[in-house]
Amino acid sequence: MKFIIEHLSKSFDKKQVLRDIDFTFESGKIYGLLGRNGAGKTTLFNCLNGDIKTDAGRFFMETDNGIRGVVPEDIGYVLSTPTVPEFMTGREFLKFFLDIHEDTISNSKSIDEYFDYMSIDAEDRDKLLKDYSHGMKNKMQMLINTIAQPNLLLLDEPLTSLDVVVAEEMKQLLRSLKTGRIIILSTHIMDLALDLCDEIVLLNYGVLETVDKSNLDSGEFKDKIIATLREDGNV
């Protein structure tokens, strides 16, 4: 399976944020989307998730049965600030989600099994989500986004504000999830990208480009990334 973006562009007023996004993502890989502040990473995600209209271009899935448009079920989108319905408990939110997807989720587990899988403590499961900590909300959001097994998982700055333990748990989880799907995570943190991702993609000056890692050690690779970001930023 491939996720293909063709000539996607988006402007706000007269500022062209995404100029010509043209890229093919392949399943089974974690892509690290690097870009400077304001490069348009979140805008790109919002476009792919259908939250904002694109000005031009298209994106679609290519499977063994040919190409098809992207449907909401294809996408899981985890935002940098976790958003969960504050008036529900963790258990209720999960139940609600499972209710809605009872026909589509294969091999569903019990609610507590999901909580165990996500290492959410038993005592927290029946608390209102408004009383969850940042890290727990994040886990909850990750859980909801992964249960339905979306083909494309978008993560906006996923690990930036998590404590080291939760961050490590998340990394493990992401690695375990990558088989059979495409994971794109945007980040500012180069070490995280290098550690977790199979491919580094730069969003720079409104276009996506890969950085070729062949024959470079990690230090040289980092220098190359920074040099690329710096050069193009000055165009």
Partner: protein, 527 residues
Amino acid sequence: MFKTLRLSFSLKNTYRVNSILYAIKQIPLIKRIIPSMVYQIRGFKIFANILSAIWELISVFLGKLLYFLLMIAAAASLYQLPTESSPQVFLHLLIILTFMGARANTYMFNPTKDKYYAMILLGMDAKNYTLINYFYAIFKILVGFTLCGLIFGRLAGLPIWQCILIPLFVAGAKITVAAYELWKYEKTGIANNENKLGGFMWILLAVLLVATYGLPAIGILIPTNVSIMVMIVTVILGLLSVGKILTFCYYKPMYKELLVRATMQMDPSAQTKIQQEQSFKTISTDRSISSNKKGFEYLNELFIKRHQKILWKSAKKITCAVLVIIAVVLILLMFAPEVRNKVNGLLMTYLPYFAFIMYLINRGTGFTRALFVNCDHSLLTYSFYKKPKQILQLFQIRLGEIIKINLLPAVVIGFGLALLLYVSGGTDNLLNYAVLFASIICMSIFFSVHYLTIYYLLQPYNAETQIKSGTYQLIMWITYMVCYMMIQVKMPTLVFGVMTIVFCVLYCIIASILVFKLAPRTFRIRP
């Protein structure tokens, strides 16, 4: 000193010019033709600068003119006192109002944005900045009040020397109060924000307000000699107080305290955070709440049960209040037959008035706000929630819920009105009862549909739960204005009632069609 003056002027002007440009950019339609680089374009800047200069001039005169015209001259004319006492009334009103204004409008203790920018963000010398701007404000008062004092004082029949005393008196009162507050800060460390008066101050101001306008109505006026004495003493106190203002040396810490607290409320993101927290507080933490339903019904039931406080409870409170009012009128009708005719007449012609009342008691805006902040705000980020089928299913469930909530008081009002009509003497045409009842019910349903439809079609909030849609605000405003203007409409109940029913039914049909056609695209978080 001139440098501070120049800097603070240019700062205030920049801030004002940019506010004007920003405001212009918010107007629907016009914003489309204005380029986004508006802040750089010379022509726009000059235009906004002219507006800003006009505003400065207006601020010297217009407020004071209106103040004299409405609060003093117009009010004095209402008493219909003999002409010879008009100078006395004039001074009576002026003196008490001035003392109220001196406390409620000090300039010194008003935490404005320009002060925050200058003293906190740009680190300008607090004392220099404050003194220069304070005395500039006093200067504006002197100029404005000299002109207005002369015009209105002479019209009221005051001698010229008393007219000239007015600006000095007003400035003196303001300076005295400011100096007193500075002294109090030195003693206690508490800086009083003039926009946040305590309970005691409000009571005092209310008492003074009653004294201002109530006493003349019963013929009690401050004697002219006393007024003159008070004015002269205040001028002297003001002159003495200037010293305190000049020598006070804690402007910096004082403003730090005053401004940092106040700017919490000015900063939009801090403000929305506060609002969000308040919104979360409305969520009931009662552990016994649960639901046996499934899917979206489950979501909705939990939402309604956990928001009892702002939904059902307030509807119930309104219903109780309505019951009490109806009972009181019923008792009145029974024991005072002479009012029956009057009430009967009112019921037969004042139905339009109830459009406004139904507007006021509708829980629609509170419902949609809670829906967004506590629910949709987060769920709209999940793609499963945005499937057209799900959006429409939830819309139907919610519509049923909001209609139910609002129907509770509406049924009581509708039934109560029909009952009052019957008790107050009835009507020849039995249809009137039905129309009265049905039109109230229709109005209630209309507002429920209206708010939820507008919410689904415009979804005005962004991810920070700020309202970002000018159209939404415009529609809210129009809704208010139309309902408010209904108060003026007097029409036979039968005619208005039938019109209302037809309108509401049509509106609901059209709104539902629009939601089903458009909401899957429009019901999104605004970027």
